[in-house]
Each structure stands twice: as structure tokens, then as C-alpha cells.
């Protein structure tokens, strides 16, 4: 039977969908019955959601960096040709 300790260990596997269905069902049951487990579960889920949003934010490669990279590689390519 899943308890709070076990839930604490399994949360990532649960949200990464790496657990068997019956274990997920046990977790769902615990979360619906135990207040602390529910709060841990909800705040962990929200943390993952916020992390995914922040991770998805991308910045563009600045134009000067892009140009410098290509110029730099061009020099390397010429060296190899010689």
C-alpha cells in the first residue's frame, strides 16, 4: 500500500508516466484521502508545470553571435582544406 513516504519517492515517476496503472490508482486514492499527501501532490504537480513553462521559454541567438560563429567556423574549414 502506498503511504506518504512512498508517495514522496514516486512523484516524479507518476508525473513522467513511468508507473504501472495499479500504482497510479493507489496514489490517486491516497491523495484523495490524505490532506498532506494531496497538498504535496498538488504543489509538486504545479512545480513541474511552472518548470515546463520556464524551460519552454527560448531566446534567439543574437545576430552578432550567429555571424561570429559562422566566421569562426569558416576559418576552421579553410584551415582543414589547406
Amino acid at each position: 500500500m502506498i503511504d506518504f513516504d512512498k508517495l514522496f519517492e514516486l512523484l516524479s515517476d507518476y508525473f513522467d508516466e513511468e508507473l504501472e496503472d495499479d500504482i497510479c490508482a493507489e496514489i490517486d486514492e491516497l491523495v484523495s484521502e490524505d490532506f498532506c499527501s494531496k497538498v504535496l501532490f498538488n504543489t509538486f504537480a504545479k512545480t513541474i508545470e511552472l518548470c515546463r513553462e520556464i524551460e519552454a521559454e527560448e531566446i534567439e541567438v543574437p545576430e552578432e553571435v550567429h555571424v561570429r560563429l559562422y566566421e569562426f567556423l569558416e576559418i576552421e574549414i579553410r584551415k582543414r582544406r589547406w
Binding site: L11, C36, L40, F44, T47, L50, R68, L69, I77
Partner: protein, 198 residues
């Protein structure tokens, strides 16, 4: 239809430099973003980007096509980032499996009174929450942050992270889980503090 990375790698190995340039074009943004998130500033990210493709260019003749090119490339980038970080810390190293101190069960249970996940403020639209989370990610030990960023920023699977960092799958899963618990703790502290101000 777009030419695959594998084909571009093969052509690069035969001396087709335009194919290598195409690989650069495909991966430069992801590498730059990864480097920026690990290093924390654009100057270092630019240097890492350049160094990554320089090393890739020099090493590509020996690249074995059974490995995925992007995994190989990100491994190069991560190694460069970590080397630079270590140099910046003047060789102050941290054990690879240093545990992140997370709270004990009774401590967590005492704290679990407020479910901040339902707060309308628990959103990245709040600049303060965004900063709190970014600061928390920055404060993760390198080994955890690298796993966390490769999973998140680059969308790698646990297996791909294990291959890129040459660590075991259980180590990846353990570090990712501990990183998330650490970030949850930090956000809980933030919301607790925020609530006490109200």
C-alpha cells in the same frame, strides 16, 4: 523532405562543409539556450556555442553514427559548460552525487497546510514567481541542474540524458526527482513568505 542529421553527419565526414553548416544551423539555438541556462549569461553562452561547434567540427570525423548526433553534440556543450563553471569557481568541485538536502517527512507534513498550487499567483505571469523559480533553478547544484535542463530545455528522455552525461539511468531519475523536490520546497518557501506579508 528535410535531410536527416545522420545524412548530414555522413556528408560532413566526407568533407562536405555545407552539410556541417546545416547541422550548425539546426542546433545552434538549442545549444545557445542550454548554455545560457547553465551559464546564466549571454557572454559565456556565446563562447560555449562557438567552442561546442569547433570541437564538433574537429571531432566529427571520428563520430560513430550509432549514437544520436544531437546527444553527442549536447554532451560536448554540457562538458564545456561544466568545465567553464569549474574554472570560474577556481576548481572548487562538488562530489557528483552530493545530496540536495530536502526536508524530512515530519517537517514536510508540518508545512503542508497551504496548497499554494491553487493560488492565482502561482503563474509565470507573475514576474516575482518567475524570478523565484529562476533563482531556485540557479541555486541547484550543477549536477542536478544539468540533468534538469537537459530534460526540460532540450526535451531529452531520461535515457538520452544518461547517454549525454554518461551516467546511469537511476542516477538521472534520482537527480531529476531531487531537483524537482528542491524547487517545490523553494516555491513553498516563497509562497509562505508571500502569505505572511499579506
Amino acid at each position: 523532405m528535410a535531410v536527416s542529421d545522420e545524412t548530414l553527419v555522413e556528408k560532413s565526414q566526407q568533407g562536405d562543409y555545407l552539410s556541417f553548416q546545416e547541422l550548425v544551423k539546426r542546433h545552434e539555438k538549442k545549444i545557445y539556450n542550454l548554455a545560457y541556462k547553465i551559464m546564466g549569461n549571454k557572454e559565456d553562452a556565446s563562447d560555449v556555442l562557438q567552442e561546442t561547434f569547433l570541437q564538433a567540427f574537429r571531432k566529427i570525423p571520428g563520430f560513430k553514427s550509432k549514437a544520436k548526433f544531437s546527444t553527442w553534440l549536447y554532451r560536448i556543450a554540457v562538458n564545456i559548460c561544466l568545465m567553464r563553471k569549474r574554472r570560474q569557481k577556481k576548481m572548487k568541485t562538488v562530489s557528483l552525487d552530493v545530496p540536495i538536502l530536502t526536508k524530512q517527512e515530519d517537517e514536510i507534513r508540518r508545512e503542508l497546510r497551504d496548497d499554494w498550487s491553487k493560488s492565482p499567483l502561482a503563474s509565470l505571469e507573475s514576474e516575482e514567481v518567475k524570478r523565484a523559480l529562476s533563482d531556485a533553478i540557479d541555486s541547484l547544484p550543477e549536477e542536478y541542474r544539468t540533468v534538469f535542463l537537459l530534460r526540460g530545455v532540450n526535451g531529452f528522455s531520461n535515457e538520452e540524458v544518461a547517454n549525454a552525461l554518461k551516467i546511469s539511468l537511476p542516477a538521472v531519475k534520482s537527480r531529476l526527482h531531487r531537483a524537482r523536490l528542491f524547487l517545490r520546497d523553494k516555491l513553498s518557501e516563497y509562497f509562505k513568505e508571500y502569505g505572511s506579508k499579506e
